[in-house]
Every structure is written in C-alpha cells, then in structure tokens.
Amino acid sequence: MTYTLLACGSNGNYQLGINNDIDQNTLQPCLFELPHNNKPTSILTKSKPIKISCGGNHTLILFDNGDIYSCGDNSFGQCGHPLSQSSYPVFTKIGTQSNWKDISCGWEFSMLINRDNQVYVCGRGLKGELGLGNKITQSELCLLGLDFDIEEIVDVKSSLDATILRIQNNQLLGWGNCRKGQLGKQLIMSNNKPEPIIWNPRKLDFGLEAATNFQFSLGREFSVFYLGGGVKIHGKSIGLEQASVSNNLSEVIDIKTMWSSVHQIVRDKLNHLQIESYGNNSHGQLFPEVQSESITDIVNYAIGSEHGLISTPDSIVYSWGWGEHGNCGIQQQTKDAEDVTFDYLNLLYKAGNDEKIILLSGGCATSWILIETST
C-alpha cells in the first residue's frame, strides 16, 4: 500500500505543506521530508497518517508508527520545532520521539500525547492555552506537568483557545479560555466574578457525574455533550438552538463543531450515516439537504472551521459550507464563480479504481484527503 495526502484551501503560512504559500482551490499532494530521502516526497510507503490536526496556520499529522510531522507557521514554536525556523514549508518530523499516540491543535498551539500518557505542549497562548500557568504564555515543546493519577489519556480535543483531556473513567481535565463557560462550572474569583481563564490543568465540572458515557466536542465559544437522550451545550449557545431533534430511531455516534455550528453524526435505522446540523448558516455551513439519490450513505466525514467534507461508498468526496480560500474546491453548481458559499454538496474528488479514501480532515479553511493506493 502507498498513501498520498491531498490538500487544498488557505495556505498563507505554508499550512498545506506543499512547499509554497499560495491558497489552492484544487487538491495538491502534500510533501514530506522523510529520513533517507534527498528531497521531499508525496508518496508514503512505510507508515500511514492516522490523524490530521489543524491550528490557525499550522498542521500536525500523527502516523501509525508514532511519528508526528508538522508544517506551517512556527513563529511561536507551535509546529513543535525549534524557534530558529519560523515556518516549515513541507511536513517535517517533530523531534526524535516515535511513541506519540494523539495530537490536537488550537489557534497558535499544539498538544502532543505519548504512549506513556504524558502531555507535551508548544506554541503560544495568552489565555491559558498551554496550561503552564499565567507566567508562561509561549514555549517550545515541553512536558506539561499534571498532578493527577492518570492511568490513560483516552482523548484530547482543542478548540481555538482551550483543551479538554478525557482520561480513565470518563473524567475530564481542561485548561484555557473558559470565559463563556465552555469548560464547565467556573470558579468565582475574589472580585465575585467568574474566572475567565483556567491557567493550570484541573478537573472540569460539567455536571456529568452520573453519565457513564458521552460524546463531546469542544467548539470555539462552547462545548457540546451528547448523553444518550439529548444534547447539552455549555458556553455561548446563542444561535445553537436545535432546529430539529433527531428522531429516537437514530443513534448519535459522533458530535463535531465548526466555529459557530454543531454537527451530529447519526446512524439511521437503515444503518446509514447522516449529518444533522444546527447553528450559524450564514455561508451554507449547515449540512445541505441531499439532492442526489447517489448519496445514500457517508463513509468518512470531517468538519473544518466553517466548512465540511464527506466521502461516499463510491469514493467521491464532497464539500459544503464557506469556501472562500478554495477549501471547498471549485464551484460546480453556481451562477457566480466568485460565490464563496457552497450550500450544496460540491464534488471535490473522485477516487480512481485502485484508490481508496481512508481519512478526511478539515482545518481553518483547509481540506485534507488521504488516499490509499493498492500497488
């Protein structure tokens, strides 16, 4: 098997890893600086990307062998590389460790989790994003001390300016901007106001004690939890009122957030995936009504800052939402080629006979498609 990662969209700081800083409205192969190769390559044979996480202007990719590669803006060290180089035009391996198991990126920072359940942080965070206390707002890659009994870090999610870790027994730890209540119950400060920032990691209280399991997503100014019967939003919930409640025959299997909308991935009674969206629809961000009978099911899905991607069983990738930087591809269905709103499913990629689409990802107006080719 070989793997090729394709990307398009916003690229002003080399965040697509294609060795230039020009926005792209057609998919381009991402380039990797691999050991023992003279020049960057787009063909990956030894290991496979398993997660792509995007910050405001930087990108991290986790591989199944425990490597992490990054590219884009490194002005504050957010790529995990030394500050001596301020940007990385192609994907470059972070450090010498190869035992990473998870990643998440925020606006100008990154979280890296290793298989020993240690958290490393890098980048800049003026609102507690690094979790290193109120004296340290910028750092090269360093270990984040956690004063908790951590048996396992199950999940990590970062938004623009906050991070939540899910550890054993569904306990949640978090830090960063909590001004809107997106990190749960806020402590009251000495001036009788709720705290705006959690500077050091601590256990979060979302009133979930009784819940045995839940799906959640950390949005920009809110967090959203799905607990069996329903959805609960913490933080700024204006505009996120659910237009339609999913019928109780469908099961919510995942919950994702754009910056101003919520997207529930549901399995219907025919065992097909669907997306139910609610929130801001200023640029077609809510999942469009499917017009075509050819789209009966969803295989892969990804939610970016204000756009989304799906792939279908016949290996076609469609985009929708706000596509001003080329992240939704080229308008196929519009009266106006300059229109930045894609309020329909726009064809972005059709896989060839020997190709399989195995991963999609969406960042800040960036789109990512991982292709597996049988050789």
Binding site: S10, G12, L160, P196, W322, E324, H325
Partner: protein, 72 residues
C-alpha cells in the same frame, strides 16, 4: 449587502496598545481587526484582511476607557 458572520464581545479581542488594533481569529487563519479610533467613532465592524468575512464587535462606549488607559 454585507453579511455579518458573527458577533464577538470586545473582551474576546486582543488589544495591542502599539498598533491600537483589536484583533480576533478569523476561520480562514488570519485575524479580524478594527482600530480603537474606529470604535471611538461608533464603528462596530471588524474586517479580515484576507477574506470577505466580518464580525460585529459587541461593546458599550464606556468599555473603551480601559483600552484608552493602556495607551499612556
């Protein structure tokens, strides 16, 4: 017709006393920006230099005092 993409409270912007700009991340990767001068003149829209998105700044005129104080 101009469309306001979102409404953001002034406390969520970062203020730079040197440039006198309020900035807030844009979903394209750049930053919405509006100057203290503009807010003093009653303007309340921050624009992104890289795209067409705009946000409305939510503030009261008296909120500006703490930022004006940072200039001295």
């Amino acid at each position: 017709m101009e469309t306001i993409y979102d409404e953001i409270e002034i406390e969520d912007f970062t203020f730079d006393p040197i440039t006198q700009l309020f900035q807030y991340p844009c979903p394209c990767g750049d930053r919405f920006a509006v100057s203290l001068d503009d807010l003093q003149d009653g303007e309340d829209v921050a624009v992104c230099p890289s795209c067409s998105l705009m946000v409305r700044v939510i503030f009261d005129p008296e909120d500006l005092k703490e930022y004006e104080d940072q200039l001295n």
